[in-house]
Symmetry: C2
Subunit: 365 residues, 2 copies
């Protein structure tokens, strides 16, 4: 593995994304305190399990200077409010709600997938047991809806009307259903040797596109934006989500494990049907056929040596799976930016959406 | 075990509840078709897992003349609409939504609790695996919210306003959070030898009271009832839920396994901290102390003979746990009926609420 900054996903930063760190920091600064306040309301021991999962405490409950993830979704929710001409604060409830649903899905998916580490840490189910991971995931999903309904009440601290809050609940609930649908498809892929590119994209649209689409529109919806604005922002988020996932799939194979926090060759060891694999299998040449043979062979499943997995990564690359996925990330990136043109917004807000999109496509983890 | 009709819970029917079978049948007739239509929208294999769980199909997907449970909640939701002066049909979306959330909790709880049978059938997680039980539970909870939001749209086929639908979402979401909270308490009890009566009641208020309270009010909320009416109906449902659970706890020990569909002495074998046990432990006499010693003894846990468990049931009865729980069921029953007096409704609707409450308290399964 020789992944180096700017190379794994084959996209080079066009301009210095100076404001992205600030955008992400703003999302965390505004959304984390209310998020923590909501999570603190959970009955013990659910509060402790959730705090651990979010990276705020260690397994004994001691506070840690945590890495709560990239927090792209809260940043998007705040920008979304600004796109509708409202202050960023109008999107806070949306950012918190989307983070709650995102983390509900992480808790459940890690358990369903049997993943033992996330963000360089043991996953919650391995520390607190499966029952707590199920239960706390359920609780976070429920809190997501409550936070949005509260946005229209005095304690919600937002100017959202009850009708806007209800629209936001609809947006988030539909996204949650698509998210679950995507996970169902992903699980069904485990039983199969071959998955088409279309099936893979459909799965990723659910698992990643749906919630990023909701994040990109939810601030605007809470701020009372019309359907046309909300739809265009959703489309931006949807394509951004697919670009995000294409990059994730690239990093899952060619990313530096010390940066991504994911196990070395983990995606290949699990024979995960990610985009590079699906694209390589669809190509049909010699390398593609050899790859298909290897994936259909039950022998050695999950026990492959580093060398075997490195050779498999090379096959995927030879069959064009890496290049196709890099191109797909670029295409989705471009389509996401085009959706922004349908929404009248200030140059500053547009510039921030553009910078965030670029960050997603050039990131290394 | 000599449980006979009308004896397990110590309550005798005051009047022939002629209309209860009809009330329950009406709930099923009106709510099951839309429930099945909603479940059919799930992506495979989630639709099949859900159909199996609801008792509509066997594990191979073949339709069966199923026993979908008592369906008390849908019946309550329809009555609830009538209590607000609306036709029963105005409560259908509420009945469907509450059934969806109820079954979300059954799917997840059976997995968390390791329960292998329910309603005389293998639980979904034992047939389709833990991941499908988690996923389908998540999907059903999400559909519950969507069904309520749809109630205010033309395809919802109901006269609910968007504001009423949003109030119903709030009602259901709050109930769901309490439900999860109750399950969290129940799980935490497994680590303990003694649980107080108050703690047990608090847990049962969450696990059973919250959703029955929501069912009893949701039809009225969808029909635009004022807060006072909704609150009184919620209180009826809350106390009815606690009566329901007290009876469940009695049946879990002294019920006939061929009627309840639950394993013989299952609650005692699991050392479940149910109301009769908590009340017996609180009594403090000789039998109470012997019971406490047995429950604190790690030896033989889960491996007790039928004889040992029968002797334990006798200890609980000697310490007054059975009588206290029977009395608690009667108290809650009475309090539930008193809440009805705060809502102006026709004698017929009131009579149906009364009959349903009596059914819950005298039931044998």
């Amino acid at each position: 593995m020789e992944a180096r900054p700017g190379t794994a996903n084959g996209v080079t930063a066009q301009a210095e994304p100076v404001s992205v760190a600030e955008l992400l920091a703003r999302g965390r600064t505004l959304c984390t305190p209310p998020l923590r306040a909501v999570v603190a309301q959970l009955a013990p021991p659910m509060d402790a399990v959730a705090s651990y999962h979010f990276g705020w405490t260690d397994r004994t409950g001691r506070p840690v200077a945590g890495d709560g993830g990239k927090a792209v979704r809260p940043a998007l929710a705040l920008l979304s409010a600004e796109a509708a001409g409202a202050p960023a604060a109008a999107g806070v409830a949306g950012g918190v709600a989307v983070e709650l649903v995102h983390n509900f899905s992480l808790l459940h998916d890690d358990l369903m997938d049997g993943d033992e580490t996330r963000r360089h840490r043991a996953t919650a189910w391995t520390v607190f047991g499966p029952a707590q991971a199920i239960l706390v995931g359920d609780a976070l999903a429920t809190l997501g809806t409550e936070v949005l309904l509260d946005a229209a009440t005095p304690r919600g601290g937002s100017a959202a009307t009850p009708a806007d809050a209800a629209r936001a609940v609809r947006l988030l609930t539909t996204a949650t259903r698509k998210l679950i649908d995507g996970q169902a498809r992903d699980l069904s892929f485990e039983q199969r040797d071959v998955v088409s590119v279309e099936e893979c994209l459909e799965m990723e649209a659910g698992k990643t596109g749906a919630l990023l689409a909701a994040a990109a529109a939810i601030g605007a919806v809470l701020a009372g934006a019309d359907d046309r604005t909300a739809d265009a922002l959703e489309r931006y988020g949807h394509h951004l989500g697919l670009a995000f996932q294409a990059v994730d799939d690239l990093l899952g194979i060619w990313g530096a494990t010390e940066v991504t926090g994911k196990p070395h060759w983990g995606d290949l060891r699990q024979r995960k049907k990610s985009l590079p694999v699906a694209a390589a299998l669809a190509e049909g040449g010699t390398a593609s056929r050899r790859l298909a043979e290897q994936l259909a062979d039950p022998v050695g499943r999950g026990e492959e040596s580093e060398q075997t997995l490195a050779a498999r990564a090379a096959l995927i690359e030879q069959a064009g799976g890496r290049a196709w996925t890099q191109e797909e990330a670029r295409r989705r990136h471009k389509t996401a930016l085009a959706a922004l043109d349908e929404v009248p917004m200030t140059d500053e807000v547009r510039g921030n959406f553009v910078a965030l999109a670029e960050f997603v496509v050039v990131r290394e983890r």
